[in-house]
Amino acid sequence: MKTVKVYGPGCNRCETTETMVKEAAAKLGIAVEVEKVTDAKSIAMAGVMSTPGIAVDGKLVHAGGLPDTAKLEGWLSA
């Protein structure tokens, strides 16, 4: 089980990112728990300055803009 955190205050792109993470995980057959972090303080504490940001198992892998599908699958299967 991997824990994925999606950081974003709730803009469209953050919603899309969450969907992309779930789709990528389903495609790869990896069990993930996706948690959305919307609180500005927690976002900033995680070191994310441009949203949406993604952390897999506590490690920040992406910040700013929609992730690339291929890269996203790489982070999830790493």
Binding site: G8, P9, C11, M45, G47, V48, M49, S50
Partner: protein, 352 residues
Amino acid sequence: MTTETHEQHAPHGLPDWAWYVGVPLAAVVWWLVYGQLIPFSEWATSLFPVARDSHTGEAIAFFIYDVPKVLLLLTGIVFVTGVLRSWFSPEKTRAILAGKNQVWGYPLAAALGVLTPFCSCSSVPLFIGFVSAGIPLGVTFSFLIAGPMVGPVGLGLLYGLVGWQIATIYLVFGFTIATLAGVVLGRMGLERYLQDWVRELNAGPVGDLPEERLTLVDRLKIGVDQVREIVGKVWIWVLVGIGIGAAIHGYVPEEMMLRIMGGEAWWSVPAAVVVGVPMYTNAAGVIPIVEALLGKGAALGTTLAFMMSVIALSLPEMIILKQVLTYRLIAIFIAVVAAGILATGFLFNFLL
């Protein structure tokens, strides 16, 4: 998982050569269409059963000419800006600003505010990221003011709809206001008016992301994504703005415009700011209105003040910033920026 399947499912699964051919081709088509706007709009207007030189005819012609023009300009500007901004990121900007001395920090922050990609929805994490990295509050404000105030969309549309002279004046004064407002706010020692939890976040964590290597095609994709995202979001504001512009162009008598927004009416500058702040639109929506106002003889200073306050001071952004700033600090922020806008307005009404 093989890479082939990725490419089939990726939204932009085009081979590289398609980008190298497609983008220049799109630019040529753009150029050809842009050149045919006047004949097209005159022809389309003639289809309406109204006299071309009547009020309604003028309004229709303005609308039909401006809608494709603004949408074309917007698409072009957003694409080019998206590609150029792919070389910048808030993380890089923070690293640059954190190492700079005070004097150059302000204009540099204002310049980076224009070049760094960030959306207003992430201005809070960005603000905290800057302040916690030890970037002075005033420098951070210069960055945050310049971003919307002298954004490429506003400048590009001003250039296309009103002319390069006014676009240049706007650039110079918008940039100056962002820089000086940051200096003034920095001098005031306002750190104590941040929300408590922000002050406690000293030397916050820095996300150490591996730098992503982007190819030229990746950057072009970013440009296209930006066009989809931004044009998809603002087209409605564009239509509303052009509708208002068309109504002004067709129906408002010039004599009335001179009385309300002419250079003689000194109170028109503060009035323009008061009207402009609560108006929530973006540069793409306000510039067609500006075009119509100037065309009807509104004074340049008054119009600049209106445009700047609509674009740079918006209530929704203040509400977002409320999470990190106290009301007192927001009020000071608005007052300082508004003072800069008023000064610009008065200066131009006085000079011209």
